[in-house]
Amino acid sequence: MNAQNAVEARNTVKAFGQGDAQVRALNDVSVEIRKGEFFTLLGPSGCGKTTLLRLIAGFEMPTSGTILLDGQDITYLPPNKRPVNTVFQSYALFPHLTVAQNIAFGLQMLDKPAAEVKSTTEKMLALVKLEAMAGRKTSQLSGGQQQRVALARALAPQPKVLLLDEPLSALDLKLRKEMQIELKRLQTETGITFVFVTHDQEEALTMSDRIGVMSAGKLQQVGTAKDIYTRPVNRFVASFIGETNFLTATTEAGGARLATGDLIEVAGTTPGQRVTVAFRPEQVRLVTAGEAGAIPATITNLVYFGTDTHCHVALNDGTEVVARLQNPSTGDAGLAIGQTLALRFAPGAAQVVED
């Protein structure tokens, strides 16, 4: 037990259905979420993100495993007894109540004195900048405003942990960017632990203190944005976050040998194994053909992206690799489709990942 943890899941399994039709939405997930951090669960659709949140909120009980809140076992505690609040993807605002009444709901259910309910509600309205809307019905609000009401309603009872299930997915891009900043500000100001679910990697990278990458009911890797981007533990994480080139190779003393016969420098491998080598497009450098130690290649496509160009090249055995090159401020890079050249990597760029 670590006193620094706000939430801890230990070996949680959640299975739906029975027999052959059984789905393991969570398959032995263990995670520690620290007090006061902005923790993001990132993964593709159906990987079990919502299920993990629902276990923490208490809407669902795990098939096996334990959920701890502040070190207390809350696995079987009903949701209304957990100091945890949720911002639902659909917002789930009460349509028969006004904005202020929605925000006050949790405080009233906690039987707080009327004066406290009133002052906290006002504080929350100010926090999400909705003072002018206090008396409106929630159906009279825009999507972004409803989103803020949902946030204020969940923050008002000052939960130990705030759970957010893809809260921004219904918003358009501009509003989404604004709300990302807003959310981060609210988290810093309130100091409440946020557990944020998204399948948008950019959202995860820009907002989180730490990220847990999930796939197929399993937690693949937990770490800071930088950890996960620069040291992905497996092929799934490497491909899900950012763009990555994968090459199959066989390890030997000096590195890993590709099917083309070229050698790539990788660290910490035992010789004689078939491995997957991963590297990012921006870690590839293009040099003139024939340079010693560089891997010969031919340009197959060039895609212009403004600040940089994606240069698709084919190795001698036809394997495709993407290199990202910063565009020079004047003139052009002098590249053309069909041109032959060679690839080099920044030292330490290429690494072996698990499949």
């Binding site: 909120a57 809407f59 949701p79 609040n85 789930a92 009460f94 349509p95 028969h96 709901f105 259910m109």
Partner: protein, 269 residues
């Protein structure tokens, strides 16, 4: 044209048949209403406009009595059947599907399917025995009988409302520290209310209108408005009956209109 979808309204003779059906449905009702304003006692000759029959009906103590009794029974039946229907609707929608659920639906909707005359005879025999045992002769039997056959009418709009309700609202209430009871009290019930009102109004109208079961179950001197009217028809037909029918018709239309308005309000939200 072959690419146009089949439409009944394009069949030959559709308009003729439609108009015929409307006339068959509404001419008797309009005639009935019109003759309630007739000065003559006759049903076949028009003697000029008057409100005499309404005044007469209004001053008829038997009519007053029967009306009051009808309203009391309908009110109680609406309240009891709506309460039962609300619980039934919650029980059949707010839990996982269970074995025998179809059977439960059948039981709840039984009054819609069993011929009314069968229920009437069964209740007559059943209540006769209870009357002997308890000696109680009051309106309770009628109220109970009406409550029973009104349940499915109250149940349907309430269930429809519950099924259309966003379940995540109840989850959100639980998340915000509401106990199951307070979730029901502060979230489910307020959102269900339009359905409950609609159900109660439907039950009220159905009870107000009942003849067969009432005729069998009532004790002496417990005429409701419809059974009183039936009794009058057996003796002598006067436009007083027309006047009472018209008044009842107006009340029913008013209630049903309110029912539809409430439903439409629901759909908008």
């Amino acid at each position: 044209m072959s690419d146009r979808a089949f439409q009944v309204s394009r069949l030959p003779g559709f308009a003729t048949i439609a108009i015929g059906v409307f006339l068959a449905l509404y001419i008797p009702i309009f005639t009935l209403a019109a003759y309630s304003f007739n000065t003559n006692i006759s049903m076949s000759s028009w003697g000029g406009f008057s409100l005499d029959w309404y005044v007469k009906a209004w001053n008829n103590d038997q009519v007053k009595d029967a009306t009051l009794r009808s309203l009391i029974i309908a009110l109680w039946a609406a309240v009891i059947s709506t309460a039962v229907a609300t619980l039934a609707a919650l029980g059949t929608t707010r839990r996982k599907a269970f074995k025998g659920q179809t059977f439960i639906y059948v039981i709840i909707n039984q009054p819609l399917m069993v011929p009314e005359i069968v229920t009437a005879v069964a209740l007559l025999i059943f209540f006769a025995q209870i009357k002997v045992i308890t000696g109680y002769q009051g309106l309770g039997y009628l109220i109970l009988a009406h409550s029973a056959f009104c349940v499915p009418f109250a149940y349907l709009p309430i269930r429809a409302r519950l099924e259309g309700m966003d379940l995540s609202l109840e989850t959100a209430a639980a998340d915000l520290y509401a106990t199951p009871w307070r979730t029901f009290r502060h979230v489910t019930l307020p959102l269900l209310l339009p359905g409950v009102i609609a159900g109660a109004m439907l039950a009220f109208v159905i009870s107000l209108d009942d003849v067969v079961i009432t005729e069998f179950v009532k004790s002496g001197g417990q005429d409701t408005l419809p059974t009183y009217m039936l009794g009058q028809l057996r003796r002598q037909m006067t436009p007083e009956i027309n006047a009472i029918s018209t008044a009842l018709l107006v009340l029913t239309i008013a209630l049903l209109t309110a029912f539809f308005l409430i439903n439409r309000q629901n759909d908008k939200n």
